[in-house]
């Protein structure tokens, strides 16, 4: 691990309860749900991690606790280093606080995670759907949401699918 990154990781793990992991050169810290904003603020102010390029979520469906992991990737333009955080989110009551007060770019990223996964960000200024229409039901990127594909039309089932398929009229 790089020395500057090592210093940042030790600075954080001294103050908060985190678990460190390293895989193929990427350093990931597993942080508790309620301390994400504080950790981000410390990293932003003291260790020069000034942008948040990556913010996404992963669904581990058959596991209910934690069902989601919200992944943050922070980048420093001075030292050119990436640091990743993972915060577990519960399945029944998916809430986590927003990091919008530290990084404004989290605004739209969290809207997208709310739209596609259903995780509610407490304190967000404008939590609406981003990609799907506003009255869409369900959260598409969850593992229990079906892909919604159309059955392929071969010669043996051509007519029965043709009857079901909607056709536009003039």
């Amino acid at each position: 691990m790089n020395e500057t990154l090592q210093a940042a990781v030790e600075g954080i793990s001294g103050r908060f309860k985190v678990q460190t992991a390293e895989f193929r050169g990427d350093v990931t810290l597993l942080v508790p749900n309620d301390q994400v904003v504080d950790i981000c603020r410390v990293l932003h102010d003291e260790f020069d991690f000034d942008t948040l390029p990556l913010e996404t979520a992963v669904d581990y469906h058959p596991k209910t606790s934690p069902r989601f992991h919200v992944v943050y990737g922070l980048y420093s333009t001075k030292t050119h280093l990436y640091l990743y955080l993972r915060a577990p989110v519960d399945g029944e009551n998916p809430h986590i606080s927003t990091v919008e007060s530290v990084y404004k770019s989290a605004n739209w990223r969290e809207r997208e995670i709310f739209d596609l996964f259903g995780i509610i960000f407490d304190g967000h200024s404008d939590l609406r759907r981003l990609e799907m229409p506003p009255d869409w039901e369900g959260h598409p990127l969850r593992k229990d949401y079906p892909l919604g594909y159309e059955e392929v039309q071969f010669t043996f089932n051509f007519d029965e699918i043709d009857l079901r398929k909607p056709k536009g009229e003039r």
Binding site: F23, R24, G25, D26, T28, D50, T51, L52, P53, L54, T56, V58, D59, V71, G73, T77, H80, Y82, Y84, Y103, K104, S105, N107, W108, R109, E112, S125, D126, R128, R129, L130, E131, M132, P133, P134, D135, P140, L141, L147, P166
Partner: protein, 409 residues
């Protein structure tokens, strides 16, 4: 079929000023089908006369569900969908995915494949900037620049067609190297292109750079400063025009970029004119990189030889039983990478294009997320457009070089 979703003023009142509710300012919809919004972007503008007070972008009109669809295909088959996201920088999307899979699995790439990858992505960058200069000049009224830019782009698409058979969605850069080695005419065709291009860039500059109408419409418009840009995570030429020389090809190099000698152009004004100058200079630097890569291109294989994760070469399948078995398992089941998550990023003409790839040990990716540069650009748009007039907004949209396929995925 659904109905069109109308927003009422109540839904948006936390984003509009209080004058909108009394009717003092007009709330106007600049809908998804409009000649000057590049792609399907919907803007809800709050106008006081002709000045913009607030601007709310609404995206999602091109949402394709690529990330969910990639989870149901194996790693190689999912790559086909990646070209179609940022459809102006097609080889860059492939490259990012290939870098992420190589990082996850831990396989090296031969140096010949690296230099061909560099050549093709820089050509892709030039073609994206050509479309940008054509359409942005077209928006401001200069139609001949569009026709000249498309003429050069045809030369680049000829090179792509020679190499892969397809003009745009090539899927040529695969994990482990390239799909196939380049044909023999590649060097000659590329050298012809490199010889012609700098004079053509001079032609575009002679039409626009000192044109007083262009200067009036673009100087001082849509200014952004560095701290705001970093907080909103704006990257690419928009950040470089504001003054920060940040380029992922220099700071976190990939594919052997450290051996090429090129500069990172910056300006300090941060306005539309600054972004124009930065992109034109970037086109020149890309031509230099392509020339250096062509001169230094080594001979050698174009695909790593690793039977567990890369398809074996065609010539071996007829003679070796193990290769045949590996080929069969590869194309029916797919390969099994180790479990874990990686992130790989590339510099696209719009900013930082990255892939977050998580695998659980199975043959299909468990979660693929593309971190695309257009989303922060559109969300920062509400700051860039405040206080300007509607016709300036057209110039701003074309200068931040949006691609909606990138934003919506």
């Amino acid at each position: 079929m659904r109905e069109i979703q109308e927003f009422s003023l109540d839904d948006l009142k936390h984003l509009l000023s209080p004058r909108a509710l009394t009717g003092e300012t007009v709330v106007l919809n600049m809908g998804p089908q409009h000649p000057s919004t590049h792609g399907v972007l919907r803007l809800i503008l709050e106008l006081d006369g002709e000045t913009i007070v607030n601007c709310i972008p609404d995206i999602g009109f091109l949402h394709t569900g690529i990330e969910k669809n990639m989870e149901s295909k194996t790693y190689m088959k999912a790559e086909v969908m990646t070209d179609r996201m940022d459809y102006l920088f097609t080889l860059g999307n492939n490259l990012t995915y290939a870098l992420a899979v190589e990082k996850l699995v831990g396989i090296p790439v031969p140096p010949r494949a690296d230099s061909v990858r560099v050549i093709l992505t820089e050509l892709s960058r030039i073609s994206s900037h050509l479309i940008w200069i054509g359409t942005s000049a077209l928006d401001l009224g200069a139609m001949s620049v569009f026709l000249y830019a498309m003429r050069e782009r045809e030369m680049i698409l000829d090179i792509f067609e020679l190499v892969s058979g397809q003009r745009m969605m090539t899927t040529y850069i695969r994990p482990g190297g390239l799909w196939r080695d380049v044909p023999v005419q590649f060097n000659e065709l590329l050298q012809q292109f490199i010889d012609i291009m700098p004079k053509r860039i001079d032609e575009y500059e002679s039409l626009l750079t000192h044109n007083s109408l262009f200067l009036e419409r673009t100087q001082g418009i849509g200014v952004i400063d560095i701290p705001t840009a970093l907080n909103w995570n704006v990257s690419g030429p928009t950040l470089r025009a504001a003054g920060m020389a940040h380029d992922l090809r220099k700071t976190n190099p990939y594919c052997g970029f450290e051996q090429y000698d090129f500069e990172v152009p910056t300006q300090t004004t941060g306005d539309v004119y600054g972004r124009y100058l930065v992109r034109v200079a970037e086109m020149r630097e890309s031509v230099k990189i392509v020339q250096q890569a062509l001169d230094k291109m080594p001979m050698g294989p174009s695909l790593t030889y690793d039977n567990k994760f890369i398809p074996p070469p065609r010539s071996e399948i007829g003679v070796s039983m193990e290769s045949l078995i590996h080929h069969f398992k590869y194309w029916t089941e797919g390969f099994l990478p180790p479990a874990g998550s990686v992130y790989a990023a590339v510099e696209s003409p719009r900013g930082e294009l990255g892939v977050f790839l998580e695998s659980d040990g199975g043959p299909k990716p468990y979660r693929v997320h593309y971190r695309t540069p257009s989303i922060p650009l559109i969300s920062a748009f509400s700051i860039l457009a405040k206080g300007h007039m509607v016709s300036d907004m057209v110039a701003i949209i074309s200068s931040i070089d949006l691609v909606l396929g990138d934003a919506d995925r």
